[in-house]
Amino acid sequence: MPGERIILLGVNHKTTPVEVREKMAISGGYEQPLAELKRIEGVRECYLLSTCNRVELLLVAEPGEQLIDNILAFLFGDRVQREKCLEYLYIYYDRDAVHHLFMVSASLDSMIVGEAQILGQLKEAYRHAAKLNCTGTLLNRLLHKAFSVAKRVRTETAIGSSAVSISYAAVQLAKKIFGNLKDKKVLLIGAGEMAELAAEHLVGQGVAEVVVANRTLARGVELAKRFHGRAVSFDELLGQLEQVDIIISSTGSPTIILRQADVRPVMRARRNRPLFFIDIAVPRDLDPDLNDMENVYLYDIDDLSSVVDMNRSEREREAVKAARIVDEMTLSFQRWMDGMSVTPTILALRRKADGICRSELEKTLPRLAALSGEEKQAIEVMLSAITAKMLHDPLVYLKSESCGGRDTSEAKINALRTIFGLGEDES
């Protein structure tokens, strides 16, 4: 529709504190909020994304005070003051909206840049919007482009390859030492949360076995069960060292629990197969001198942090490349929209047809009380199929212009508008 624009409104972790975000978190699925959104006057296409870090709306609508007020009411209800809301909310139009959406889908706007989750969330949100017929020509195209931006960024840059977390760093190092982790065994000394997380990552890489040594055996058994491993007592520690390859230590012990002198005979028994110690306890559990032994690698929490930092800076470099892809794709979408100068006419035509259908349905359906809901829906579907087919040829006629000269396009638009009585006030 002439005057209609792509509008993106939202709040995210950067602009809005969590106290506000949790007040508006759209819980209980997408259906109800989407239906509400659709009812707002002037909104023709809509789409809603809600994650723990962001709530974003994408609309095709005619912008105006009234619309913004309605949206604010929809987002915040009366729980937050209007002025405050405007402070948190960002609103982008057309090109900027497209750019922002692409930044989000490329995971460049995420809290952890490059994390892969956001794409799944976008797709999920789009599935709901499409199911409820909230999206139309423009948003369908735009969102599919957003997915291909994400795909390009993923394949053409290494942005997703170096995740930034301590446990990921541990896995990364283990891989550089052992290559394949498939036949390796992990020993957890102490059952802290961090150790658990790291073990989970390692299990995700397919390690053969997890052994848990804890002071209180009961907790050890419990944790071991989670990983289908076994629990051993603290006294068996040295014996276990001969079997395992990766040791994650996180006890609350104030003193060092493993010294170089303890490990030296173990290495002989292991025939020098490498040992990888990860000490995430503070104060440290493991003798720093362990690292001086051949085929023994010891990393404490600070060392792991430096790996994380390295990964982070690697990501920033890749993010620059990714941003270029986003710019490129925004430009090409912009071009597509420009090329669709005939779009307003198409949209007007469609809207007119839809309007007629709806009003006729409203007249007819109440008189057909005997019909079940399903049958009514079938009639609606039939009606829209008829109009779509009726409009097909005029639309093809219109669109064929875009490859020819602009001048004839203008003439054809006028012709169509006259024939279908699409009033001047709408153009």
Partner: protein
């Protein structure tokens, strides 16, 4: 023939240089397309080296493995094909760059020494010559792979131990992969080395009437052989691996190099036919 031979050698140099350059570019940029190009170039280089050796055979009328130039070329050839045969079974990330640089070095050295065609000394006129020298050099080829693997191991191990992750950390393979490479190449190289010594000894019996005469080259071969024997023995018994194995592989290669050139230039003896 000599012209063809000359052209072949120049193209070997060029193609090997391009292969090494492509591997270096791949090492920096990690773009898979460039690696594929580098592989094709290295295989071409291997084929050209073979052709060059064949052309040299026709030029000389005997196995081209006596002069310093020929030895270097055959050494490079053995290293190339040892790598390609190894590569066919195992993948070791960025191994190609190190190996191709070594091959290039050998070929450049061979270009610097005299390429003159010399008459074969009567003592060498035997079919033992290609067998003995060829097998020995093939062994050296595999041992030089172990040398490259050892260098890579030391670089990677240093990054892991010092916890300062620079250029090599992401680009070099895992320590385990490098250690396995060391083990495989040493074992294969050792078998060829042994065959080389045995064949040499049989030839000596035929030519000089005695199996062993403590000529400097023989002595040094034996020393090299023992260095590798100890290494392999220790790995199988007490599990020598990792850094120690890598250092030993480098040390062993130094012994190989000395046996091949040092002895000829410094110590002389019955093996020093050509300079």
């Amino acid at each position: 023939m000599s012209e063809i031979s000359y052209l072949l050698f120049q193209s070997v140099l060029l193609v090997t240089f391009l292969a090494a350059a492509a591997y270096c570019v791949f090492f920096v940029g990690q773009k898979n397309k460039i690696r594929d190009v580098a592989r094709v170039l290295l295989v071409s280089s291997g084929i050209l080296q073979t052709l060059y050796i064949v052309s040299r055979y026709f030029l000389l009328g005997h196995a081209p493995i006596t002069s310093q130039h020929e030895t270097l070329v055959v050494f490079a050839w053995a290293t190339s094909w040892a790598y390609l045969s190894f590569r066919w079974r195992y993948t070791v990330k960025n191994f190609g760059m190190f190996v191709s640089l070594l091959i290039l070095l050998l070929l450049v050295l061979s270009a610097l020494v005299s390429r003159e065609v010399s008459e074969l000394v009567p003592a060498l006129q035997s079919w033992w010559l290609p067998v003995h020298a060829g097998v020995s050099l093939l062994g050296y080829g595999f041992l030089s792979l172990a040398f490259c693997g050892g260098l890579m191991y030391l670089l990677q191990e240093r990054e892991l131990k010092n916890k300062r992750f620079g250029y090599f950390f992401v680009r070099l393979p895992s320590l385990d992969a490098l250690d396995q490479l060391n083990s495989h190449c040493l074992t294969t190289g050792f078998v060829f080395l042994t065959l080389g010594i045995v064949s040499g000894s049989l030839w000596a019996r035929q030519a000089w009437g005695t199996y062993w005469q403590w000529d400097p080259k023989e002595t040094w071969s034996l020393i090299t052989w023992f260095i590798y024997l100890i290494q392999i023995h220790q790995r199988f018994t007490v599990g020598w691996r990792g850094k120690r194995a890598a250092v030993m592989a480098i040390f062993g290669f130094a012994a190989v190099a000395f046996t091949l050139w040092g002895v000829t230039y410094l110590l002389g003896g019955v093996h020093s036919y050509a300079r």
